[in-house]
């Protein structure tokens, strides 16, 4: 058992036992779902189905139904793609990077953050697929032997790198998440009373036993997967940024993109984790496990990554002037003062100013304020991608070709639809899966639990 300094706030509040932890996490799964769950699920499902319908219409008609034109060939589709992938980054950061740094507070939030990652990457992956127009030939992005002669995909293209990056990221995150879930499914299996639930959780738990040897393997597998996922998470958003950075469009081909995109991804991902967890902890009665200290830690991450993003924005502006390249300068002058000034200044306000408020301890410990800022950051990060993508291409080489992008009804429906689908998945997860890594949390109970830390023996023996 590990001891920690007395001045550190306990991570588990109240007087919990091992059995209480099991009860607290499993009860919401075993009880009937509250009415609120059905209401939210219904709303999310309707929005999601509307999105699916719009995608079907799009596939049947062609991507002309989007508001794209010959100047702006990439707009909401790629914006939404990057936005969702970015959101996904927090889950891996929490479970992998914080595991390597031995941050115990991750244990309360890693499960749901990883679930969020997986669902977000699902949503992200959908956009490039439907942008192909012919979804059914999506497998052509893989280097498969084919009947077109020696025709292979282009391994020099960042778009292909992205295919590999996103599919590796999705599948590795899924495996990482599931390996952690197996022991917790076993707990639910061993408690289940209804035959159907018993059967389902029995299948899902793969017959997990909890033998010492298995735990020994489990810990090593988690550590090695964390070690693999850490560079992976940085590589994925770097590669997403290469989609732009390796092009020759002013405003896109900047070497600052990879670190700036990674910081932005973590920034937006943590904001989404806050949005989801602040509601979930309340709805599922997990306030003892996910409390103000966890929220504060996450807010500090938001503050740090937000500052990196802010620095990157200003560096970009400075370099565009300092480069002396008039095309480069114009791209940025146009962003700030052109017809999309409102998008640029929304991005600046949401992403540069709002995270700085987190320097004030009172604000970063306020749950209501955090929830508000998390929404602001999510909006800001969507605008960031929109600004980077659309304002860089809408005024291209010949002024006669200059254009504006107006989203069509389908653009909006597909985007809003993915938000609906995301919540459908997340609500199902919250209903049927253990939302907290309950067995992992038990390992920190004696070291970081309130009742243990406050007991007079805590600092005496061992």
């Amino acid at each position: 058992m590990q001891k920690e300094a007395a001045i550190r706030e306990p991570l588990i509040l109240g007087h919990k036992t091992y059995h209480d932890i099991t009860e607290d996490v499993c009860r919401p799964i075993e009880d009937k779902a509250p009415k609120m769950w059905y209401t939210l699920f219904g709303i999310a499902l309707i929005i999601g189905l509307y999105g699916v319908g719009s995608i079907c219409y799009l596939l049947g008609t062609g991507i002309g139904v989007w508001g794209l034109n010959k100047t702006i060939g990439w707009a909401w589709d790629i914006t939404n793609f990057v936005w969702w992938v970015g959101i996904g980054h927090a889950g891996t950061l929490i479970s992998a990077v914080l595991l390597l740094f031995r941050q115990k507070w991750r244990m309360a939030i890693n499960r749901s953050a990883e679930a969020m990652t997986i669902f977000a990457v699902f949503m992200a992956g959908m956009f490039p697929l439907i942008h192909m127009g012919r979804l059914w030939v999506g497998y052509w992005v893989l280097p498969l032997p084919n009947q077109f002669g020696s025709l292979w995909v282009n391994f020099n293209s960042p778009l292909l790198w992205d295919v590999f990056a996103i599919s590796t990221y999705l599948s590795v995150s899924l495996v990482f998440w599931y390996i952690g879930l197996i022991p917790d499914f076993a707990t639910i299996r061993d408690r289940a009373k209804k035959p159907l639930a018993k059967k389902m959780y029995s299948i899902l738990s793969f017959g997990w036993s909890g033998r010492a040897k298995h735990w020994n393997r489990f810990e090593l597998v988690s550590l090695v997967l964390a070690g693999l996922a850490t560079p992976l998470v940085f590589s994925v958003h770097s590669i997403v940024s290469f989609d732009f950075a390796t092009s020759v469009i002013p405003g896109w081909h900047t070497t600052i993109f990879p670190p700036y995109f990674v910081a932005g991804a973590v920034f937006s991902g943590f904001a989404m984790v806050q949005t989801l967890l602040l509601v979930m902890r309340k709805a599922m009665g997990l306030e003892a496990y996910i409390h103000t200290k966890h929220v504060e830690y996450m807010n500090i991450v938001i503050m740090v990554t937000g500052s990196i993003v802010g620095t990157a924005y200003i560096t970009e502006l400075f370099i565009s002037w300092y480069s002396g390249v008039e095309y480069e300068s114009y791209a940025f002058i146009n962003r700030a003062t052109g017809p999309y000034w409102w998008a640029y200044w929304s991005m600046m306000t949401c992403n540069v100013i709002s995270p700085q408020l987190m320097w004030i301890p009172k604000l970063r410990r306020s749950l209501l304020f955090t929830f508000f800022i998390s929404i602001v950051v999510n909006i800001g990060m969507w605008f960031e991608r929109y600004v980077i993508i659309v304002t860089s291409i809408h005024r291209d080489y010949i002024p006669a070709a200059w254009s504006m992008h107006f989203p069509s009804h389908i653009d909006i429906a597909v985007y809003v639809g993915t938000i609906g689908l995301f919540f459908v998945f997340f609500l199902l997860f919250a209903r049927f899966f253990p939302v907290l890594a309950l067995n992992e949390v038990k390992t920190i109970l004696k070291g970081s639990g309130q009742s243990y830390k406050e007991s007079p023996d805590y600092h005496k023996h061992h």
């Binding site: 091992y18 059995h19 099991t22 280097p143 020696s150 025709l151 292979w152 282009n154 391994f155 020099n156 960042p158 292909l160 790198w161 590999f164 990056a165 599919s167 590796t168 599948s171 590795v172 495996v175 990482f176 390996i179 197996i182 022991p183 076993a186 707990t187 299996r189 061993d190 408690r191 029995s202 299948i203 899902l204 793969f206 017959g207 997990w208 036993s209 909890g210 033998r211 010492a212 040897k213 298995h214 735990w215 020994n216 393997r217 489990f218 090593l220 597998v221 090695v224 997967l225 693999l228 996922a229 560079p231 992976l232 590589s235 590669i239 290469f242 067995n439 992992e440 038990k442 390992t443």
Partner: protein, 178 residues
Amino acid sequence: MSDKVIYVMYDDDEALKDSAKKLVSKGVKISEVFSPFPIHGIDPIIGVKNTRLGIMAFLYGLTGLTVATLGMRFFMVTDWPMNIGGKPNFTYLDNMLAFVPISFEFTVLCAAHGMAITYLLRNKTLPGMPAQNPDPRTTDDKFVMEIRLNENHGISEADLDEMLKETGFFELDKKEIN
């Protein structure tokens, strides 16, 4: 040959660890420990060796890197060199920098999945397998030690019972197996 298995249950991880230490020092062989979460420090006491899955992950990663390198060399250099803006692409080295991202991704892909699959196979935990733990409470808040009589020839059952009683267990269960 028939055998008797003793399942000794404790309600605390530290209690199990302490009694395991005592039992092992008296020469008792503990064949297995079941717990809801990893008990740190139990492995050397009961003689569980460290897993070699890490080495396997490295080998899988190496395989991925090799496949990616050979694959891209074949696709982009041997089989169908593409002329992209006249950039040199006649040897692997000329083109190597563009192959770094996919080489890395494929290495990670193979290492992670190879290790995960090996882990599940070695544990014999696969979809639909029946639960292997002796008591459903071992996934909640109880910790069970498994002792087999035929692995402890020098100790009589009565002696063992006496030793176990001293450790202050929570529950004791004996089973005949064939």
